[in-house]
């Protein structure tokens, strides 16, 4: 059976550097949701929270009367070209689904990690969240930056600070297997 998950609490520090792709973690503390629009505005107008050790969560939650109703992850790849300035400012972890591009893998090296949240698990995720505040509310429910306090959200390290990328490894293996299957048929 697998090891007990590593416990992480924000703000994050050098403890993230020793984690490896495939490790299970439980994350507690404050995270900031951000999708395309919030990234663009932060890049142009500045980050409205202290980015040192912060965690960015790729998510457009359903919020009703100051409560998080559903909050699954969104596809992180859309933020591929919008994440470098956050890591430069001290952000230590990005949370989302589907993994990120090679560029982000490079920017994470020696600095931070990418954490995967199981897609579709909106009820589970919402049950570990408390809404604490909001920035850029004018961007609308899906695109605003929601300040959320997590209570042991179960995640897995998708990309680590050593340059290992689980998604990339799986894709490479899948392509090789597919070619083998095709060659056998032809």
């Amino acid at each position: 059976m697998k090891r007990k998950p590593f416990q992480l609490t924000t703000p994050l520090g050098d403890e993230v550097l020793s984690l490896h792709a495939g490790d299970h973690v439980e994350l507690s503390g404050i995270v900031y949701t951000a999708r395309d629009q919030a990234h663009l505005r932060m890049k142009n107008e500045g980050i409205p929270f202290d980015p040192k050790g912060a965690v960015i969560f790729h998510c457009g939650p359903v919020v009703q009367k100051d409560r998080i109703i559903a909050a699954g992850p969104t596809t992180s790849a859309r933020m591929d070209t919008l994440s470098e300035f956050l890591l430069d400012a001290g952000v230590r972890a990005l949370v989302g689904k589907g993994g990120m591009g090679r560029g982000v893998r490079g920017h994470l090296k020696g600095r931070g990690i990418y954490l995967a949240l199981t897609g579709g698990c909106a009820a589970l995720a919402a049950s570990r969240m408390m809404l604490r505040g909001v920035f850029f509310k004018d961007l609308g429910m899906a695109e605003a930056i929601w300040v959320i306090e997590l209570d042991a959200l179960p995640l897995v390290v998708g990309i680590d600070a050593h340059g290992a990328d689980l998604y990339e490894a799986v894709k490479r293996k899948a392509m090789k297997k597919f070619r083998q299957i095709q060659n056998k048929k032809d």
């Binding site: 698990c121 799986v170 293996k173 899948a174 299957i181």
Partner: protein, 306 residues
């Protein structure tokens, strides 16, 4: 409509009067019976949607549980644990299990005494609007070009409604999320390339990777025409996933050999099941469509009673 006859007036009336009265009564009851059918259909549509977005069908749950029990990859085991916890929690609290509550795809059967009218389509749309407000569902339906959101999950051509004759009146809903729908594909294969069907399905998942929220169910349509094969693929998703033919099993095994695993993080199960539906086609064609469905393989059926 038959119920109208029960209320036929009896008594000392002339033949003509009786016939006139009977006809009037039939018309009247017909009309009110008709509105009863429509409102029952609307309620059944909303009920089916509520059931579908909160509770997975038993055969889908069994398939996920079985795959979870057989999984050997520790990362995938963790993903399965989250999925199973999420399914149980959504049921317990009574909330949608995924924030993408999809677009409504609806399948109707109509018995011989219920005619297909514009009112039938409007009743289904009314049910979708009610469900969107009451459950609530995320408003996902937009104009394809202006991207203006209608706010109620209906619009021109939406919900998608498929009608078939049947013994009873039933409504089946298949709320379809975008992540998996976006990676679905069609191929018009040369008829001599039957061996290419399996490769096309596997290649579809290779491109889809984690974006489709695996472990997926793959609806495969084979035959018909360019448009018909896509409908077949989606209809295949209505079939039970806990048993497969040897043909379906073979394709499923091939998909699982590439090891994409839950959420594209690697593992033994990429597809929970492959379901195939076929139809006759042109001798010079071999249409193949793959409709990808995420692990949240949501569907529910309600009988419409009035």
């Amino acid at each position: 409509m038959q119920r109208g006859f029960v209320f036929l007036p009896v008594g000392k009336t002339s033949g003509i009067q009786m016939i006139m009265s009977a006809l009037f009564s039939l018309l009247l009851m017909g009309a009110s019976g008709r509105s009863k059918i429509l409102s029952a259909l609307s309620v059944a549509t909303a009920d089916a949607l509520r059931e579908a977005v909160i509770r997975l069908p038993p055969d889908v749950k069994r398939a996920i549980e079985r795959a979870a029990a057989n999984e050997t990859n520790p990362v995938a085991q963790g993903e399965f644990a989250n999925i199973l916890k999420n399914i149980a929690l959504a049921e317990k609290i009574g909330v949608p299990l995924c924030q993408d509550t999809g677009v409504p795809v609806v399948y109707l059967t109509l018995p011989p005494d219920v005619p297909l009218t514009a009112g039938i389509y409007e009743a289904v749309a009314h049910g979708v609007r009610a469900a969107t407000q009451q459950i609530p569902l995320r408003p996902n339906v937009v104009d394809p070009l202006t991207r203006h959101n209608t706010g109620d999950n209906t619009g021109p051509g939406m919900p998608v409604v498929h009608v078939r004759p049947g013994k009873t009146c039933t409504v089946t809903v298949l709320p379809k999320g975008a992540g998996a729908e976006n990676v679905s594909r069609i191929a018009m294969l040369p008829p001599s390339h039957q061996y290419g069907i399996e490769g096309f399905v596997v290649e579809t998942m290779l491109h889809a990777g984690g974006k489709s929220c695996p472990p997926v169910v793959l609806g495969v349509g084979i035959g018909s025409t360019f448009d018909g094969v896509a409908a077949l693929a989606k209809e295949a998703l209505l079939l039970p996933v806990d048993k497969m033919t040897s043909f379906e099993q073979e394709i499923c095994d091939a998909v699982n050999r590439i090891g994409i695993g839950p959420m594209g993080l690697g593992g033994d199960t990429t597809a929970l099941a492959v379901k195939v539906r076929t139809a006759a086609c042109h001798t010079a064609s071999l249409p193949v469509a793959v409709n990808v469905q995420c692990w949240a393989d949501r569907r529910a059926t309600r009988e419409v009673v009035w």
